[in-house]
Symmetry: C2
Subunit: 317 residues, 2 copies
């Protein structure tokens, strides 16, 4: 069997091709074919991860595969979409079946967690680069956009952002992992949780805006402010700081929460006066925290001081 | 303006974003949004081109952009699809606005020729790598697959394959272009013509199979034979050899036609006894040539001799 037939076989496992919706035509022709219910829109995103820019090339291929798909699925979650299917464009520097099998296993683990099927792809020789194109569905006109925030609305974030960024010294081998807290941060970097159920709950229950925090909370929130033509006031004592982050980063923890990227939590906007928490915790147990509110006055403010959005550029940009 | 804002501006030109179907939501949110008519299927493909594997990194960026989109659109043509929209994942080794503007201009030229709109993308730092995800639409159940060929059907190819492969010594700088014929071959390499109108005509008028010739006619035809569980008999005197190819390659021209890749012509299967040419030449003036027929006996045969499909691996694989 030649190399590219072997690769095709590795990716044609049912754990990948039947993890979610089954296409009308999947891998094996010039193109895939899917149908779409008439009352739905197709939600799509493409992301590229480059070795030693977005992840360490010598990382565990299982985790590289898991994370590559998680990062893209997170964009679907941010729109409130139900995951449907994905395509993979993979450049590989060498023929290494063991590496590829573990990569595919990690990809399959996330595919099953997200309920999303592999329907097409392209494998080429080249520097290690992973492009993932994902698609999901939303009821027509209901997707969570960046442009819906209004003055007075509340600003929420899911989970505990900042942890992935705090893991970088350990990921890069600059520091050794010596505690459970440090290991927790490393796990959060490699295995982010796309907030799929939360995104769909928010869509169904009336959130006004959402996005996923890939580049840092302050910078990503600013995208909502620009698209919605408004400002935001945040309060440092409300920011969710995990025990692990506090233990490892001390006084720098708040900076990590505000400016650290790679967590793939959702930042979302909720209408003031609309009850949420009790109802939500039953139906969707993702932890969320209110960290401030939308203002008519432009700009981003923390405890009354102007805050410059941190521009997070991953680790080697 | 920071680098990535500049890049966004270059790609948000209407020549790209409005070249074909306009999405419900294009560039600027976490995801794009499209709707699909209820009687259509969505046809999708992803392809990656790596610098110095699939094209020369020092080539004209206009031609690199033009060709990158043409190669992917060709997969839509092979299914008989009408192009709809595409996403671009681009890794760039350095910030070079002039390079990027010319790349985008080449991309826009093909986008307008094909009637396909840019709806999303991702730009990262990394080795020069271009992934293009394209999508088109077909009437439900009508797409041209590889599995429809039946014994007795006729085998056709469009245009004059072999020219792009014959251009490689000039593309790679191993030989200098000194004649119009050589320049013609180089032009065919950089600016292939996706056979969109032909693909749609074939879908509407009853072709039984089709694919695009990316890796070489004999190898790609073998994909149809495998999927359709049959064989094929070809005749060397019927193979279309262009004047330029004959002039430059002499006795090797037939080998180029059979095994050269990168032409992106369509190879398609047509029911025997069904009239085609007169009707077709009016509605779709793409030149096509009947080169043989499908046989019940497995295998690929040329003038009665068994033919080993050439495995074409681009120029540096």
């Amino acid at each position: 069997m030649d190399e590219f037939s072997l690769i095709r076989n590795i990716f044609q496992q049912p754990q990948l091709t039947e993890a979610g919706s089954v296409p009308d035509q999947g891998i094996g022709d010039d193109c895939s074919l899917i149908s779409l219910p008439a009352d739905q829109q197709l939600v799509q995103s493409i992301d590229t991860l480059v070795a030693d820019v977005h992840f360490t090339a010598n990382g565990d291929p299982y985790l590289i595969g898991y994370r590559a798909l998680a990062v893209s699925v997170s964009d679907l979650a941010a729109m409130g979409a139900k995951p449907h299917s994905f395509s993979l464009a993979l450049s590989l520097p060498e023929n290494n079946p063991e590496w590829l099998q573990r990569f595919a296993d990690g990809l399959a683990a996330m595919a099953n967690a997200a309920g999303i099927s592999l329907i097409g792809g392209d494998t080429t020789r080249g520097p290690l680069t992973i492009s993932v194109h994902v698609q999901g569905i939303v009821p027509k006109g209901k997707a969570l956009l960046r442009s819906g925030a209004r003055p007075g609305d509340l600003i929420y974030v899911s989970g505990t952002p900042g942890e992935a960024n705090a893991a970088l010294p350990y990921i890069l081998g600059e520091k050794a992992v010596t505690s459970d807290a440090e290991q927790h941060l490393v796990d959060r970097y490699w295995q982010p949780t796309p907030r799929i159920a939360l995104g769909q709950w928010l869509l169904e229950n009336g959130a006004t805006s959402a996005l996923d925090v890939s580049d840092g909370l302050s910078g990503d929130l600013s995208h909502i402010l620009r698209a919605s033509n408004c400002g935001a006031e945040l309060f440092s004592e409300k920011l969710p700081v995990s025990d692990a982050l506090a233990e490892v980063c001390g006084d720098e923890a708040i900076d990590k929460v505000l400016n650290g990227g790679d967590d793939y939590e959702l930042c979302f906007i909720w209408p003031a006066g609309k009850p949420m928490t009790a109802q939500m915790s039953e139906q969707c147990p993702t932890p969320v925290t209110c960290i401030g509110h939308i203002t008519k006055k432009k700009g981003l403010w923390l405890d009354g001081q102007s805050l410059e959005p941190g521009s997070y550029n991953h680790f080697s940009n």
